[in-house]
């Protein structure tokens, strides 16, 4: 296990992960024992229990593993509905859920996508917790 302090600059914590994402870098944990990719990074591997976790940049492309459209959104996202959400299997092996910047009918399982990052909108900032206010939002775009 890393000797680094788990402070807010460490990418094994959420502030550290989102700081890097704001700079356009998607960091994943990679288990030193079994190779499992952990998104976001965390102190222990869920697949084998190891606490040996390296932090490595993840290539920001992948394929749609599953997808849907949200027609009955939480109140905070009412103005966006319907919007498309997908689980994406990234090229480096990790899986990450996120919005897809495409209509549901234009998406299919296996479609290649690219991860993009933007600043939160004013509405998103309004519903954010204090510590989340500046966290960026990732969105998948069809390639």
């Amino acid at each position: 296990m890393s000797d680094d302090a788990l402070d807010a600059t460490n990418p094994r914590t959420l502030p550290g992960f989102f700081d890097a994402l704001a700079d356009g870098e998607l960091l994943g944990g990679v288990c030193t024992d079994c190779g499992q990719v952990l998104l976001p990074p965390r102190p222990a591997c869920y697949a084998c229990g190891s606490r040996g976790v390296d932090v490595e940049p993840q290539f920001p492309e992948g394929e749609v593993f599953s997808y849907t459209a949200v027609h009955t959104p939480p109140p905070a996202f009412a103005a966006d509905a319907p919007y498309t959400v997908a689980v994406v299997e990234l090229t480096d092996g990790g899986r990450l859920l996120g919005r897809v910047a495409a209509d549901y009918d234009d998406v299919a399982i296996g479609d290649p996508v690219e991860l993009t990052v933007r600043e939160p909108t004013a509405t998103e900032r309004e519903v954010a917790l204090d510590y989340e206010t500046d966290w960026p939002v990732h969105v998948f775009e069809l390639r």
């Binding site: 998104l39 599953s66 949200v70 959400v85 859920l97």
Partner: protein
């Protein structure tokens, strides 16, 4: 070790009610104790399954409901695990009786889901998902399960029509259940033509929002006999937590449910073929298909045939009947009470109190109650008649 049994059950009306949560609990408790001494004379501890304090802005549910039951100075606490809270409460009660700590424990559950309207329920349920990635992407309970459903339809021969048939079957069961929120039959076209909620799931693929409470009294076999109550043995109990984020799990092999069910089977000394009836967590139609496979009732990829009579299902299926109550889909799904409503159905089926919906010859029941999406947490119980081997 004492043999824990269920000695009595009760429930409130389910659906849109004019009663607050504590009053729904009082209705459920009154039914459960109709033929019993007062709770204060026998109950030694209370566990309350309850999803969210946002509906009624009330925590301390253990303290509150113990007081409303007339219990003072007993251990009482709320148990939280989203929709698995009810079965977690039951599991705690079972363990307390099994390890000899108490002779009689009240497991109850309550949810006043309609207090904040549909948007309030949508928001409260979304708290079950990972905050950092999932909630901030705007997911909801239906959309999370739709991700499982989309993948299931991709990997198997199942169609949206098959999922619709599961809803039709569960509504037909509910039509014979006087406790059901929707005791009416529907047809396949009604499901397929209903509004999209999160494709491939449509309105009639989804369990309803509704209020409800349930109470289950767990005692030693000796105390149940002394109280002259029909008893159902809790022969096995299992629980499993899996990743909170759906993306990081196997989305069609519901491993946590498999572990929970196998743990309960092992404790009971049975395998899946011994199960006559199962109340599984069909919050969305695809769940029944996935859980039929995870519980060992169906070969991988054929769980969607749960709506067919046993003789018409694929080779490798057991003869189990799923969701005789009508399931979450049509009996109702007041989140924190659901796991206890499942136990209530099994109690009535195994004690000859299920009326028109009785499954003939049923001696062994499996309960599977999930919280979060899929197997984020799963709790399983095996219940048997007192006479079952």
């Amino acid at each position: 070790m004492p043999d824990p049994v269920i000695a009595s059950v009760g429930a409130s009306p389910l659906g849109r009610t004019d009663l607050p949560g504590r009053d729904l609990f009082s209705v459920a408790l009154a039914e459960a104790f109709d033929d019993l001494p007062d709770p204060a004379d026998i109950v030694e501890a209370v566990y309350v399954g309850n999803q969210s304090e946002t509906y009624e802005h009330q925590i301390m549910q253990g303290t509150l409901l113990a007081e409303w039951a007339g219990l003072r100075h007993v251990p009482a606490e709320r148990v939280e695990g989203c929709a698995a809270a009810g079965a977690l409460a039951l599991r705690h009660a079972v363990k307390d009786v099994r390890n000899g700590e108490h002779e009689a424990v009240l497991a109850c559950g309550v949810e006043k889901m309609t207090a904040g309207g549909t948007s309030g329920a949508t928001d409260a349920l979304s708290a079950a998902f990972d905050r950092a990635i999932e909630q901030r992407s705007g997911v909801t309970a239906p959309s999370q399960y739709a991700l499982l459903g989309q993948r299931y339809l991709h990997e198997t021969d199942a169609t949206e029509r098959d999922l619709a048939e599961i809803a039709v079957k569960n509504h037909a069961n509910a039509a014979r259940n006087p406790r059901a929120q929707f005791p009416k039959e529907i047809d396949v076209a009604t499901v397929l033509e209903s509004d999209p909620v999160a494709p491939p799931l449509k309105l009639y693929d989804c369990a309803p929002v509704g209020d409800g409470a349930a109470a289950v009294l767990v005692t030693t076999a000796e105390l149940a006999a002394d109280l002259n109550r029909p008893q159902v043995r809790v022969a096995g109990s299992g629980a499993s937590a899996n990743n909170i984020a759906v993306a990081e799990r196997d989305m069609t092999d519901i491993a946590g449910a498999r572990v929970a069910a196998e743990t309960a089977y092992e404790e009971a000394g049975i395998d899946a073929t011994a199960v006559d009836i199962a109340e599984v967590h069909d919050a969305f139609t695809v769940c029944e298909a996935l859980l039929a496979e995870a519980a060992g009732f169906a070969p991988a990829g054929s769980g969607y045939q749960s709506y067919l009579p046993p003789a018409e299902r694929a080779d490798g299926w057991t003869d189990v009947q799923l969701s005789p109550s009508g399931g979450l889909k049509a009996r109702g799904h007041p989140i924190g009470a659901t796991g206890l409503l499942q136990a209530l159905e099994a109690y009535e089926q195994l004690t000859g109190a299920a009326g028109d919906r009785a499954v003939e010859g049923a001696e062994t029941a499996l309960l599977l109650n999930e919280g979060g999406v899929g197997d984020a947490v799963t709790v399983s119980h095996v219940l048997t008649t007192a006479e079952a081997p």
